[in-house]
Symmetry: C2
Subunit: 246 residues, 2 copies
């Protein structure tokens, strides 16, 4: 049976996942495109449902499937040129806990694509536990897309600055223009890297809690880097310095 | 005098700068927003004309100014929430020449925001000469925006892979999954870093010309990084290793 009405309750449920309120209400988020859906299964995510557009001719997945007409699918999809498949995936546990390894603290990052790209890099670089204070929701469709499969593997913990900071028992390394050159800095054995937003940097609350501050050396004509680029350079620089030290 | 018609020749000229064809025809590109326009002047760019929306209340600039009605301005602007000011800036020289310092070769990068973010990072990290083969135009509004003021300071040379590669007389370091860990690699005194697109990596032509290949070490669950993040990590890693060596 093909569901054609955008008013169908199931279509409305899926479409609600585009907004944070809907994701919270349903305890689920949206994953879009064949590759991402395949990776959600491969990563062992709890895939609640798959929805395909009636002309979808890609692979099948072992989950309850619904078929939508083009209009109904468009109401659910977040892509400009959709492949015709989305999955509703249960939000992974976000129970707050102290970090087991090196981790990342994101302070007020509002661009969902930057948040997603940072999640992607964090998993790659071994900062799989992320604490997000006042950031764009990493489970928004834009962020999920930019993270590639990063959101399936990272532990994403959202909360207030105060509760997150009080949880992180390891030295905090803050990224700040006035800090030490990260390439000549020797990090402690375990640490949390804190990065702020592109526009305003770290908040005073986070800066005040920092044990160290580091900066990326830059040409004098440059004020700053893209937030995802900057986080990536810092994560890898600290990782490399940690290994050199050992 | 306020120009209200979208059909006004001046409005059509400015609007044409949103497309590569128009930029080439006029030898100019579009810079948008107070901060970017201010930086274009500060960088000594040749600002041909400034156009403001009639309600623009920001600072004045020393260039011929035109005032546009809201509709005419919307036809010119590329922003979702325009500040009400754009400038037409002469394209800087793109005459091909061999690199004087360390440089970057971009191989088939099609995302204008990634190209812009890479230009921004390249200026910051001291890779101010960029060779772009089969890439998104760095002077598109999206790329200019993502570069911040990077396009004002970088030397951006576009051409075919063959002509660009034949021009670069220094060792070529190619970014490739199969390469050496960039954090344990010692680069030569001068080099050109070549990075490919996120989807397909480097073309065979560029890979075949490489003197070295390097990779960013990644968690096994990660396939790749965002192209701008990846280029940023590589540029800074090689820069740091160069300094360590000396």
């Amino acid at each position: 049976m093909v569901i054609v009405s955008r008013q169908n309750p199931l279509v409305k449920e899926l479409a609600s996942l585009r907004e944070k309120k809907g994701r919270r209400a349903r305890g689920a988020f949206l994953v879009e495109g064949t590759k991402m859906v395949r990776e959600a299964f491969a990563a062992g995510m709890n895939v609640l449902r798959v929805a395909v557009r009636e002309d979808y001719a890609g692979e099948d997945f072992p989950a309850p499937a619904v078929v939508l007409g083009a209009g109904a699918f468009a109401a659910v999809s977040d892509e400009k040129t959709p492949q015709g498949i989305v999955a509703e995936v249960a939000l992974p546990s976000a129970r707050l806990r102290p970090p087991a390894g090196n981790c990342l603290f994101l302070d007020g990052l509002q661009d969902p694509s930057n948040v997603g790209a940072i999640v992607r890099t964090a998993v790659a670089a071994g900062y799989g536990e992320l604490y997000l204070a006042d950031c764009a929701d990493p489970f928004s469709p834009k962020s999920v897309r930019a993270s590639m499969s990063g959101v399936f593997f990272a532990r994403l913990m959202q909360g207030t600055r105060e509760e997150l900071l009080s949880l992180i028992g390891v030295p905090l390394i803050a990224a700040d223009m006035g800090g030490e050159d990260v390439f000549s800095f020797t990090p402690p054995a375990q640490f949390c890297l804190a990065v702020g937003s592109e526009g305003s940097g770290l908040t005073q609350a986070v800066r005040g809690r920092a044990d160290f501050t580091v900066r990326i050396p830059m040409d004098a004509r440059t004020e700053s880097l893209n937030a995802a680029v900057s986080a990536g350079v810092l994560m890898y620089a600290l990782k490399a310095q940690t290994h050199l030290r050992r």
